[in-house]
Symmetry: C2
Subunit: 747 residues, 2 copies
C-alpha cells in the first residue's frame, strides 16, 4: 500500500540540497531585467513622466509607461478588467507600478529608477473600507468591465456609483421575527487586519516573445488561467501562449491568477516584485445572533466588509465566499448575510490561504463563546448542540455535510483535555469551522505515460508550491497502476504540453487532480492488462498488477516487459488519460461544493497579567482529511497552516498610515518563526475514508488556518475574563484590555 504511508517527498532531496530550481534561477539568452518605479502616494492624477535621463543611464534599453506597452488591452484581473499593467492617468495605491525600466542588468535597471521624473497631482485618498463606504467618498472605478474567470458572470454584483465591487447577499427564514422571539441576542463587531503573504519566494516572471508567440516562466498557482489572460491581453490564440511553472517557493493564494505576468510579457524581460503585490483582505465583521436559552441558534445576521484595495483582483469572490461561510458550521434556521468588497486606495488584496474563512471565523467563533458565557453553557457542548450533522444541509442546494463534526469536536476536546481544571491566568478555548473546498466547477486533466522500462511519467498541471502535490499525486498514480512509487516521475506544468488544469488553490489538487490522475492511471492500467492478457493467453480480469509486476497465477511479467513486449525493442509507451469534470452547476451560492473542509482547533494559554503577553502552551489542530494520502505530509500541511495563522492571532498585520504601508519588509512585518510556536503543537487527522477524492481523500491545507485566532481569544477570555475583538492580540492590546477591565470592576 502506497496510500497512507509517510512516503518521502519526491522533491525533498533537491530542495534540501539546493538543487531545486525556481523561476529566479532561470536564464534565457539575451535576457534583460526590469525594475519598476512605484507610486509614492495612494491616490493621484498622473501629469507626466520624464524618462529621458533614465533612458540615457548605462545599460538601459527601454523606459516604458502604460502607453508604451505593446498590448491589445492594458487592463487585466480575474474578476474585473480593472488593473492596468502600469498605472494609466490615475495612481490608485502607494506602490502601484507606474514606469518600468528595462536594462541589461538588474543593477542598471535599479540605478535608472532614481532618474525618473514623474509629475502628479494628489487626490483625496480612501484608505479604509469604512472611508470607502462613507457618503461622498471618491469612487475609484466608475465603470467596471467583467472578466471571464467566474463561470457565472451574474455572480459578480458590483454596486454602481460606489466603491463596492461586490455585494453578496443571502437570507433565509424570518430573521426579524427570530430576533424578536429570541431569549438572547448578541451583537459584536470584529476586526481582522490585512496581512502580507510573504512566501519565501518573491514574485518573478521571465517572458520571451518570438515568432512562436509568447512564453512565460512564472511561479503562478493558475498556469492555464494565466495563459487565458495573456492571450486576451496580447490578442493571441491560446496555443500561441506557453506558461511554464517550475517549483514554487510558497504561494498561500498570493500567486493565484495573473499578477506580474502581463508586465513581464509586455517588457519581454525579467521582473521582481516585492511583497506589495498582493495582500490578505482586512475584514470587518458585524455579527448579530439570536439564541434560545437552551443554546439553540435561531438566527444570525452577518455583515462582512472587505477592504480590497485599488483593484479587485479576485476580491469579489473572496467576499462572496467570506459571506457564505460567515455563519459558521451550524444549523441556523434564519440567516441574513451581506458581504461587501470595497475599493480603497490601498494595495490590492486577493486570495490568501483560507479565502475569507480565517477572517469570518475570527468573528463567528469568538461570538459563539460569548453566547455560551452569557447563557452559562459549556462552549464545547453549546457548539456540539448546533453543529451540522452528517447529511444535514448548510444551505439548500449545496452538498450536505459530508463529515462527522461532532466526533471531530470531541477529539479536539479530548486532545486539549477540555474538562481539566486550570490554574489562575490559564485557560483553554476552542473553535471550529468549515469551508466549501475544491473550488467550484473546475476541470483537471492528467496523463500517465508508462515507459518501456516500466518507469512512469505523470503529466499534470498541478503546481508544486511546497504543499506536496507531486508526492501525493505520484502516490495515487503508483497505487492505482500497481507500480512502486519510485517508478513515478512528475513533470512540471507547461501549458503547451501538460494537460489542462484549472489551478492549484482551494485545497483542490489531491481531490480534483487526484481523481484525474486516478482515472488516467486506471486507463493505463486497463491497457496494460489488455496487453498482458495477450501474452498470458488469458482475460485481463484474471490478472493483477502489484509492485510493477503483472501476475497470472504463478506466472509473472514486469510492467516494462509488457510495454516493450508489445512495442518491441525499438520502444513505445502506454498512455492513459483522465479528466475530472464536476457535476452540473446548481444552487444559489455558486454550485455545490465538492467536499467540506473541516478544521477545528483548541488552545491552552497562559496570560501574563503584568505585560499582556499571551503564551500558547499547547495548540491542537484537527483536520478531517477523509483519507490521508500521505499522513506525514497532511500533518505537515496542517501544522504549517496553524503556525501561519498564529501570526495574525498574536502579532502579524499590515500597518498603514494614510495609505502608506509602514511595515513592507520582513524586518518590520513579523511572520511566525519557530520561536513563536506553541510550546506543544499537535495535529489530529480524522480519517473516515468519506471524501470524494481518490481512496476517500479530501482536500487539506487550509483548515489549519481557520481556528487559531478565535481559539486563542476564547482561551484568553476564559483565563482572564477579557474579550478581544480586534487582531492581532498584541501584548499592548491585551494589557490595555486587562487594565480597562480592572478599571471597570473597580469602578
Amino acid at each position: 500500500m502506497i496510500i497512507g504511508t509517510a512516503a518521502e517527498r519526491l522533491d525533498a532531496r533537491e530542495k534540501v540540497t539546493g538543487a531545486a530550481r525556481y523561476v529566479s534561477d532561470l536564464v534565457v539568452p539575451e535576457m534583460l531585467h526590469a525594475k519598476v518605479w512605484r507610486a509614492p502616494v495612494p491616490h493621484a492624477r498622473l501629469l507626466g513622466v520624464d524618462g529621458s535621463r533614465a533612458a540615457r543611464s548605462p545599460g538601459v534599453v527601454a523606459v516604458c509607461t502604460a502607453t508604451d506597452l505593446p498590448v491589445k488591452r492594458l487592463h487585466y484581473g480575474p474578476a474585473f478588467k480593472d488593473q492596468p499593467i502600469l498605472a494609466h492617468e490615475i495612481i490608485r495605491y502607494a506602490g502601484e507600478p507606474v514606469v518600468a525600466v528595462v536594462a541589461d542588468t538588474e543593477r542598471h535597471a535599479a540605478a535608472a529608477l532614481a532618474l525618473i521624473d514623474v509629475s502628479y497631482r494628489e487626490l483625496p485618498a480612501v484608505t479604509s473600507a469604512a472611508e470607502a463606504l462613507a457618503q461622498g467618498a471618491p469612487v475609484l472605478h466608475p465603470a467596471l468591465d467583467r472578466s471571464g474567470h467566474f463561470r457565472d458572470l451574474s455572480g459578480l454584483r458590483p454596486v454602481a456609483g460606489t466603491n463596492v465591487c461586490q455585494h453578496y447577499h443571502y437570507d433565509r427564514g424570518d430573521v426579524a421575527r427570530a430576533f424578536a422571539e429570541a431569549d438572547l441576542t448578541v451583537e459584536d463587531v470584529y476586526h481582522y487586519p490585512a496581512l502580507s503573504h510573504h512566501a519565501l519566494e518573491a514574485h518573478c516572471a521571465v517572458a520571451r516573445v518570438d515568432g512562436d508567440g509568447l512564453t512565460v516562466w512564472t511561479g503562478t498557482q493558475h498556469p492555464f488561467p494565466v495563459r487565458k489572460e495573456l492571450a486576451e491581453v496580447f490578442d493571441l490564440p491560446l496555443a500561441a501562449v506557453q506558461v511554464i511553472v517550475p517549483l514554487i517557493g510558497g504561494a498561500f493564494g498570493g500567486k493565484c491568477y495573473t499578477k506580474i505576468e502581463p508586465l513581464a510579457a509586455a517588457l519581454a524581460a525579467r521582473v521582481r516584485r516585492s511583497a506589495l503585490t498582493i495582500t490578505r483582505h482586512a475584514v470587518t465583521v458585524r455579527l448579530r445572533t439570536a439564541v434560545r436559552s437552551d443554546g439553540t441558534l435561531l438566527a444570525r445576521e452577518c455583515d462582512v466588509v472587505l477592504d480590497t484595495g485599488a483593484y479587485a483582483d479576485i476580491g469579489p469572490r473572496v467576499a462572496t465566499k467570506a459571506g457564505y461561510r460567515a455563519p459558521g458550521p451550524y444549523r441556523i434556521p434564519c440567516l441574513s448575510i451581506d458581504a461587501r468588497c470595497v475599493y480603497t486606495n490601498n494595495v490590492p488584496a486577493g486570495a490568501y490561504r483560507g479565502y475569507g474563512v480565517p477572517q469570518v471565523t475570527w468573528a463567528s467563533e469568538s461570538q459563539m463563546d460569548q453566547i455560551a458565557e452569557r447563557l452559562g453553557l459549556d462552549p464545547l457542548a453549546f457548539r456540539e448542540k448546533n453543529l451540522l450533522k452528517r447529511g444535514e444541509e448548510y444551505v439548500a442546494g449545496d452538498t450536505p455535510m459530508d463529515g462527522d463534526m461532532a466526533d471531530a469536536l470531541a477529539q479536539t476536546g479530548a486532545a486539549i483535555d477540555w474538562g481539566r481544571a486550570r490554574e489562575r491566568g490559564r485557560g483553554v478555548g476552542l473553535a471550529c469551522a468549515m469551508k466549501d473546498g475544491g473550488g467550484t466547477h473546475t476541470v483537471s486533466t492528467a496523463a500517465v505515460r508508462v515507459n518501456a522500462d516500466g518507469s512512469v511519467t505523470l503529466l499534470t498541471g498541478s503546481v508544486e508550491m511546497g504543499q506536496g502535490s507531486r508526492t501525493a499525486l505520484a502516490q495515487i498514480a503508483a497505487e492505482t497502476l500497481g507500480v512502486p512509487l519510485s517508478a513515478i516521475v512528475v513533470e512540471s506544468p507547461d501549458t503547451s504540453i501538460t494537460p489542462y488544469d484549472h489551478g492549484t488553490s482551494a485545497s483542490r489538487s489531491t481531490t480534483v487532480m487526484g481523481l484525474a490522475v486516478e482515472a488516467a492511471a486506471r486507463d493505463a492500467r486497463g491497457q496494460l492488462l489488455e496487453l498482458a492478457a495477450k501474452f498470458f493467453g488469458t482475460e485481463p480480469e484474471k490478472l493483477a498488477i502489484h509492485d510493477g509486476v503483472v501476475a497470472c497465477g504463478e506466472r509473472t511479467m514486469t510492467v516494462g516487459d509488457v510495454v516493450s513486449g508489445h512495442f518491441g525493442l525499438v520502444g513505445g509507451e502506454v498512455t492513459g488519460l483522465g479528466t475530472f469534470v464536476p457535476g452540473t452547476w446548481s444552487g444559489s451560492l455558486g454550485g455545490a461544493t465538492l467536499f467540506w473542509e473541516v478544521g477545528m482547533g483548541a488552545a491552552e494559554v497562559q496570560v501574563d497579567a503584568d505585560t499582556g503577553e499571551i503564551s500558547v502552551e499547547k495548540y491542537v489542530s484537527v483536520a478531517d482529511v477523509g483519507q490521508a494520502i500521505n499522513a506525514r505530509e497532511c500533518a505537515a500541511q496542517d501544522e504549517g497552516a496553524a503556525m501561519q495563522a498564529i501570526g495574525p492571532a498574536l502579532f502579524e498585520s499590515r500597518v498603514s498610515e494614510a495609505g502608506h504601508l509602514v511595515n513592507p519588509g520582513l524586518i518590520d512585518y513579523r511572520v511566525p518563526t519557530f520561536a513563536d510556536l506553541p510550546r506543544e503543537l499537535e495535529t489530529v487527522l480524522i480519517e473516515n475514508r468519506d471524501g470524494p477524492g481518490p481512496f476517500g481523500s479530501k482536500g487539506v491545507g487550509e483548515g489549519g488556518t481557520f481556528c487559531p485566532a478565535p481559539a486563542i481569544a476564547n482561551a484568553v477570555a476564559r483565563a482572564t475574563g477579557v474579550r478581544i475583538k480586534d487582531l492581532p492580540m498584541t501584548p499592548e492590546r491585551v494589557w490595555r484590555a486587562l487594565r480597562d477591565a480592572r478599571g471597570t470592576r473597580r469602578g
Copy 2:
C-alpha cells in the same frame, strides 16, 4: 482543402528572420563548455594522459579521460556497444575523442587542449575495407556486445575473429545455372566514396544533471532512442532522462541515434563536435548479372562491402539494407547477395540520406545501361521490360510493389525528351531505384489538444530538421479536425512530455507519425462532435466541422465554443490520442516495408572532351509521393535531395591518406552550391493517392538522392562512349577515361 495546398511553412518566418532557436542558442544557468582532444593517429595503444598542465589553465574546471567519466557503461552504439564515450586503452581512428576539457568558456577550454600530453604507441592501421578484409589484418573489435535498437537481434550477424561486423546474405533460385544458361553475363566493380553530411548546424548538446535526473538538449533525429541509450549508459529509469529537441539545422542521417549526447551528459556541459562525427559509408559493389538476349533479367550476384570505420554505429543495418536493395527495382528470378560491413581505422560511418541506396544504385543502374548497350537495347525500354509491376513481389514475404513504376519511368523519359536526337558530346541517361521506406516496425504516438478558443496544440516527437514535418503534420491535423491551418501550433519533441516516437528517419514522419496525428485528430474530432451534438440536440453523425465551425444544418457553433461551452468559462480542453503500430513482424529481411519509396532521374549532359568537365544541362527528378500533403514542400525536398546527390556524382568525397582525413572542412570538402546546379532542374511528383499514409500519402525526401550519379554517368557514356565506375566523376577522372578510350580506339 488544406492537404495538397502549397501552405507556407509554419517555421518559415522564424527561420528567415533568424528568430529560430537551435541547441547552440541555449544558455542554462552555470553552463560550462567542453572541448575535446582528438587522436592524431588512426590506430594506437594509449599509454597515458597528462592533463595536469591543462587542469591549471585559466577557467578549466575538469580534464577528463575515459576512466574519469561517471558512467555505468562506457560504450554505446545503436547496433553494438562498441564505441567508447572517450577512447579507452585503444585509439581506433584519427580524430577520435580521447580527452575532454571542461571550462567556464569555450575559449578557455580550447586553450587548455594545447596543454594536454597524451602518450601512445602507434599500431598498424587498417584504412580501407579491402585492407580490413585481407588475411592477417588486425581485428579492431575482437568481441562485440549487441545493443537493443534492432528489433530482431538475430538480424545482427558479425563474423567472429574478423573485421566484418555485419554479413548480410540472401539468395534465391539456381543462380549458377542461370548464369550458365544466360545469353549475356556482365560483371563490374563500382566504387562510391565516403561522404560527409555537412549539415549547416554542427553537432551540439547541452546536458544538465540534477536531483530530477538527466536533461539533454540536442539536435538528434531520435529523441526517444537517445533517451534509451542514456538511460542505459547512466543506469537511470527512462522517466528520469529527458531529451529535448528544438529545431535542427539539417541532419541527413548524421544525427541518427546517439552521437555526442553521452559525452555531454557525462560532462554535464556543452560540447560541439565537428564534421568528424559521422560520415556516409564508402562502398564497393561488385555486380554480376545474367540476361537473355531479349533483355530479360535472369540472375544477379551482388557483393557489397561497406567501410564502417572504427565503430559500427548503425552501419550493420545500412549494410543489410544496402544489400537488400542492391538488385534494383526489377523482376530477377535468381539472386545472390552478400553485403559486409567492415571495421577499419577510419572515422565511423553511419546513416546518410538514402541509407545505402545511392551507393548500390550507382552500381546497379550503371550496369543496367552497360547491359542495354551490349544487347543493343534502348535503356528505357530495357528497364521498362524488367521493372516490377504493381502487386509483384520484390522478395517473398515483403510488401508487393505499391506503385506504377512503368508510368513513372515513362514520365521521366517524357520530361527529359528521351527520344530526341542530341548533338555530338551530348547525351541523356536515366536511372530508377526504390527503397523500402518508413522504417520497419516503428511506433509513433501523437496528441492533439483542442483549446477552449479553438486553437490546437499538436504534440509529436517528430523532429523538424528542415524537411517540413511540422507543416505537413499540422496540415494533416487541420484537415482531419476541420480547422484552419493557422489554428495549429506544433510543439517540439521533449521525451518527458511529448508522446513516444521512434525517430525521424527513413522518410517516415509524414506516413507513420502522419497516421498517428490523423488518428489523434480523429479521436479529438469525435469528442468534439459528441459534445456539439448535445448542444444541438442531435446525433454526432448529423454534424460537420469545417474551417473551425461545427454545422448542424443552418445552425453553427465554433469549435472553441464547443470546448468552452462544455467546460465553462474557467476552461478545459479536448485531447485526442493516436498511435500507429505497424502490423505483425514478418519476412526474412526485416519485416514488410510500409511503402516503397520510388525515385527516378534523368540527366542531359554535355561533356567537354578537352577538360573532361561534365555540364549537367538538365536534370529531371521523379518522385512517387502518393499524395503530396504540401506539393511545394515535396518538390523542395526532392530538389534538395537531387542537388545534394549531385555532389558525390561530380566532385564530392572524403579524401583520406593513411587514415588521416585530408579534407575535413568546407574549404577543402566541396558540397554542391547553387553554382553547381544543373542549368535546368525539374521535379515531377507522381500522385496516385495509393500510399498508406494520411490521404494516400507516402514518404518522400530520400528518393531524389538515388539516381543523379548513375543517370549522369549513363548520359556521359551515351555522349562519349566512356563508362565511369568510380565516383566522383571529376574532370580529371573523366579526362583520363576519355584519353584512355582514345588510346584504346587508336591502339
